[in-house]
Amino acid sequence: MFLQQLINGITIGSTYALVAIGYSMVFGVLELINFANGSVYMLGGYLTLMLYTGLVGSFGLSFGLGLLLTALVGYTIDRFGLRRLREKKVPKIAGLITTLGFSQIIENAVRIFFGSETKPYPNMLDFGQVTFGNVTITSSQVIILMISILLMLLTSVTVYRTKMGKAMLAVSQSQEASQLMGINVNGIISLTFMISSILAAIAGTLVGMYYQNIDASMGASVGMKALASAVLGGVGVLPGAMVGGVLMGIFETLGASYISSGYRDAISFAILIIVILFKPSGLFGRKQINKV
């Protein structure tokens, strides 16, 4: 049973990791927690489903369109919400509240347009399951894990190996200095929001397919857990967010199975608190962070 639980935990943990990367990236460049990220995760799953059932009919195409639209929403959050605040040099807390506002707008807009009831989701990843003794692994679990690892590698390469990624790192160190060096700071920030939204949307779609249903409130709890994963790994550090996410999934699953199912969330957050007590910057964190 331990092995089964571990596989369950890693699968769900890898989707937390995708959302956690978004928190970490935005925090890296803006020193701001984007609370709308959880809602964007939900929105991504919804848009794919709605395009698929309502308009397009081809899952691949609607998935692509869904990602594009979600990226647009991510861009909107920054362009029409946060950039104005940056220009006016408003305290960071206002930006934080703005992202909370966006998360409410997205969630309730989805409820108004698509209804609040849980919707069935087609599972495109279902190619059967394999059983070894007591352990059952489904194709969905394998594919989710593979896609997540691939995306994590891709994001790491983008951030640490490309010119664009270097610009992001530069902006995260000093916006003024980056601007002086000819980096389009606003452009980089928008890009960061779009990448984090796309990752969240992919995670939302994968989770929708995995559980074969989706509802408007699914973003809230995942958002909290992904944020906790990012903090656990060290906010602003990409490998930290990834490891943090997977660990969070494993803690939660093992906690639920070996300690008490009623306290599963409490257990994972308690472990988070213990880690933070002994290593305030998170498992992989290096620099001291001034949190908003």
Partner: protein, 408 residues
């Protein structure tokens, strides 16, 4: 000059009126203002209030249930008014949104009791909200008919509380007994939502099933509407080799549990669901994965297929047909047990008001408890202990459709 004359006339009239009241009060013990209705010993039979209120969730996670309630009560009020209303005067219906939240439920309750024209209230969805608001209605002396509050402590919270759903221990005790009769002394695992109703259900099932000789091999809990990943709980349950998996959940969580149990290879476990999963949406989510599952509860299913193949009586069939024509025509939720209970609740309150008047809430609540009008949600009665009893219906799922299994 003219104005003064009017005033004098008005004053004289008022004096006559007051005197008249005084006289009848002093000289006779007969109820004042009797309208010829059969008045009981304590009540005067006078109808002074004409508003039926409802506290239901119209926004938030639970809004689909609240909408069913609202539609059904609206229809019941219209039907009642069409049949003459309260002494020829129409009953008004006022609906308040409590968002399925305890704090909001209390706010709404205070608003409702401060409205002098309200004679009874229907609400709310779920035991948690109803029980938070119950003391306010008791204090304000407004009879509260609660369509699906099954918590055992609810009826004891005051004379104003009229449950329309059985106490969990009554209903789940009999369901546990029916399961024991069908499957014998086997291993049963329970997965239940961490709410008042979930916990009391577990206790009731466990107590009866174990006292009969069965074994509860696992009992796992989750947070409703938040938990999406049931695999840790189900893997743990799978390790205990259950024969029956008893699911206590709302329809969306219930569907997730069914799907994920199949993904974990729990094919040979008999799934049993209760009450709240009796919804078409459950089948939309679970599909053929729910085939063979047993659904037991005091709630029936009213889908077109089930209605076509089973006879639930003319009264019920007529209500279902009219409800669906009005509210489900353009994409609305079809008639379900929530609607049935809310319809019955509204009808009970209004008929009782017509029978004994609205000026004495105690008498009114007592009259409602007699339940002597036709009910569309199935037989219901208060037994000698004062507990509500209802008939238990068993359904199964075949090829993704609900099928009624009448008792032999």
């Amino acid at each position: 000059m003219r104005k003064q004359k009017h005033r004098v006339v008005a004053m004289i009239l008022a004096m006559i009126l007051l005197a008249g009241c005084g006289v009848s009060g002093d000289e006779t013990t007969a109820p004042a203002g009797s309208t010829g209705e059969a008045a009981s010993a304590e009540g005067t039979g006078e109808i002074t209030k004409y508003t039926l209120a409802a506290s239901v969730p119209l926004t938030g996670n639970m809004m689909q249930y609240g909408t069913s309630y609202k539609n059904a009560i609206e229809m019941a009020v219209a039907d009642f008014n069409a049949a003459g209303g309260l002494n020829g005067q129409d009953v008004k219906f006022e609906v308040y949104d409590d968002k399925g939240d305890q704090k909001e439920g209390i706010n709404v309750a205070n608003m409702i009791i401060s409205n002098e024209d309200v004679f009874a209230v229907i609400g709310s969805y779920g035991s948690s909200v109803s029980m938070a608001a119950a003391p306010v209605y008791q204090e304000g002396a407004v009879p509260m008919l609660s369509p699906n509050t099954s918590h055992p402590d609810y009826p004891g919270m005051g004379s104003m509380m009229v449950p329309l759903a059985c106490k969990s221990e009554v209903i789940f005790g009999s369901i546990a007994e029916m399961l024991y009769e069908q499957f014998g002394a086997c291993n049963m695992a329970v997965i239940y939502q961490n709410t008042d109703v979930g916990i009391t259900t577990l206790e009731a099932v466990q107590e009866r099933f174990e006292s009969l000789g069965g074994t509860i091999c696992a009992a796992e809990t989750f947070v409703p509407n938040q938990t999406k990943d049931f695999t840790p709980l189900l893997s743990k349950i799978k390790g205990t080799n259950p024969d029956i998996l008893f699911i206590v959940a709302e329809y969306s969580d219930g569907a997730s549990i069914v799907l994920q149990s199949k993904q974990l290879g729990m094919e040979d476990v008999q799934l049993v669901g209760v009450g709240n999963v009796f919804k078409q949406e459950f089948l939309d989510l679970a599909g053929t994965n729910a085939d063979g599952m047993l659904l037991m509860g005091i709630a029936r299913i009213y889908t077109d297929e089930v209605m076509a193949n089973n006879d639930f009586g003319e009264y019920t069939a007529d209500i279902v047909e009219r409800y669906n024509a009005t509210y489900a025509a353009d994409g609305g939720v079809e008639f379900d047990n929530f609607a049935a209970l809310a319809y019955d609740g509204a009808m009970l309150a209004m008929h009782a008001a017509a029978e004994v008047g609205t000026d004495n809430p105690e008498v009114l609540a007592e009259e409602i408890r007699k339940m002597d009008i036709p009910l569309c949600a199935g037989d219901a009665w208060f037994d000698a202990n004062g507990d509500l009893q209802r008939e238990v219906f068993t359904f199964t799922v075949e090829n993704g459709e609900f099928v009624y299994l009448p008792e032999e």
